[in-house]
């Protein structure tokens, strides 16, 4: 296994009281990457105490079921902390993955970032 540097997988920006997260990876597939992405996402809630998190999937072309698992855990963590998770800007092919798995019913999903920001 090629060991990859522990680089940042997320670009995090605060817009008002919302933490907007963009993914640096176009493909969220590798177990290692997914593990790192999960850790970095969870630390936003567990360590930084963020309550409103918006995930922007604009860069993402591929997403596996292991990545969906991390999103579910993040959603649970935010709910437990009295916060909220919203997803936006999901490519139609990837949105289909959410539809197939019916996770489009679990997550709050908006097309555009602007509309998503206003939904908090």
């Amino acid at each position: 296994m090629t060991s990859q540097p522990r680089r940042r997988r997320l670009e995090v920006e605060d817009i008002g009281d919302v933490t907007v997260v963009n993914f640096t990876d176009r493909k969220i597939l590798d177990e290692q990457n997914i593990q790192l992405i999960g850790e970095q996402l969870f630390s936003l809630v567990d360590e930084a105490g963020r309550k409103k998190v918006l995930l922007n999937f604009g860069n993402v072309e591929y997403l596996s079921s292991a990545a969906l698992g991390k999103l579910i855990t993040l959603n649970k963590k935010l709910q437990a902390a009295g916060g909220r998770l919203i997803l936006c800007n999901i490519d139609p092919q990837i949105y289909e993955v959410f539809e197939i798995t019916k996770l489009n019913k679990l997550f709050n999903i908006h097309k555009e970032e602007q509309a998503a920001l206003q939904a908090f």
Partner: protein, 161 residues
Amino acid sequence: MMPTAIPSAKEARTEAGQDSPAHVLIPSDAGEARRVQEEIEQALKASAYSEPDIFGIKLALEEAMVNAIKHGNQLDRSKNVRIAYQVRADVFEITIADEGSGFDPEDVPDPTAPENLERCCGRGLMLMRHYMCEVSYNRRGNTVRMLKKRKKSCGDDKVTR
């Protein structure tokens, strides 16, 4: 006349993918799996498979590889994953075998049931079944065979087990 070049091992293997199945044996290693997945993607592109077809095959392949390496072989590098695939003009077919004890696909809970929606497992298999026309396991449950017909919906041919 050009002299006939002796193909490298990789070329010989790629060539085998056109007419008869290509066989690849890899250790339980994500990097090795990635390399095979990229090779298959190149073969699909070379055969001019459509972008949505390639998207679906890649996703199903990713899930099946993770299942074989992580769940089947338990990330044990001494255990191998045996892959046979064929990219034909009308159909893509792949068999992935691990050295694990296997599982019963019937035992995997429906991940879309409301009570399971937040559980971690079962989605990989579900995505494989959605994107491929056929997904079947051997009796032991350590070998999956997947088939995708090109550029048309699987329709009534769809076999999910």
